[in-house]
């Protein structure tokens, strides 16, 4: 069965500092990987996705993620965070079945 792990439930970081949000997945089949962001009182918005090809994927708002097949990871990074990046971040995986499996989420708090 597929599963997604986000080890850090909460990540506080100072404004303009770099951040990495960790995501690991388990699957016996090929996967497509996504990061979604949920701002307070809003729905889920796609940040970026990995389908194939280059393992470094760039998304919106300056975020990027690197797919590492050997470590089954898809960590999200940003070199310099802003207050507006405060949100819940969800890693997700899609396999050949018609559904998305979400990780438990990481709450990013940017401290001024």
């Amino acid at each position: 069965a597929q599963s997604v792990t986000q080890l850090d439930s909460q990540v506080p970081v100072f404004e303009e500092a770099p951040v990495e949000l960790r995501c690991n997945y388990s699957s016996s089949v090929s996967v497509y990987l996504f990061w979604y962001v949920q701002y307070p009182n809003q729905g889920l918005q796609l940040l970026l996705k990995y389908l194939s090809g280059s393992t470094l994927v760039k998304g919106i708002n300056g975020f990027e993620a690197e797919f590492n097949k050997s470590q089954t990871s898809f960590h999200l990074r940003k070199p310099s965070v802003h207050i507006s990046d405060t949100a819940e971040y969800f890693c997700a995986v899609v396999t050949s079945y018609d559904k998305v499996i979400f990780g438990p989420g990481t709450s990013l708090s940017v401290i001024p």
């Binding site: 996705k49 018609d98 499996i101 979400f102």
Partner: protein, 117 residues
């Protein structure tokens, strides 16, 4: 930019009452989904819907739940007799094609918060 719209944004109901949550997916999308997020927990898949029938459902989606596409634009989730544990944020999503190729992604609505008293 096209968006998925959901109504109501917040509904409070008494335990045992029926609730219908409504969604208007993006017009050219063919696949529709419901997810839910209990407060403080992760987003959980409920059901996917294509070609006027359920294509997949989770163990959460029991006989108390049903989905319908009553016309060409709306996609509804009905909870027949609500329980306290149904309190959650319910997200509708749609995609142009199925997710199996990975080439398409879900577009989510802003959610409907259901509070069961």
């Amino acid at each position: 930019e096209p968006e998925v719209t959901q109504t109501p944004s917040h509904q409070v109901t008494q335990m045992g009452q029926e609730v219908i949550l409504r969604c208007v997916p993006i017009s050219n999308h063919l696949y529709f989904y419901w997810y839910r997020q209990i407060l403080g927990q992760k987003v959980e898949f409920l059901v996917s819907f294509y070609n006027n029938e359920i294509s997949e459902k989770s163990e959460i989606f029991d006989d108390q739940f049903s989905v319908e596409r009553p016309d060409g634009s709306n996609f509804t989730l009905k909870i027949r007799s609500t329980k306290l544990e149904d309190s959650a944020m319910y997200f509708c999503a749609s995609s142009e094609w199925g997710l199996g190729t990975g080439a398409n992604v879900l577009t989510f609505g802003a959610g409907s918060r259901l509070t069961v008293l």
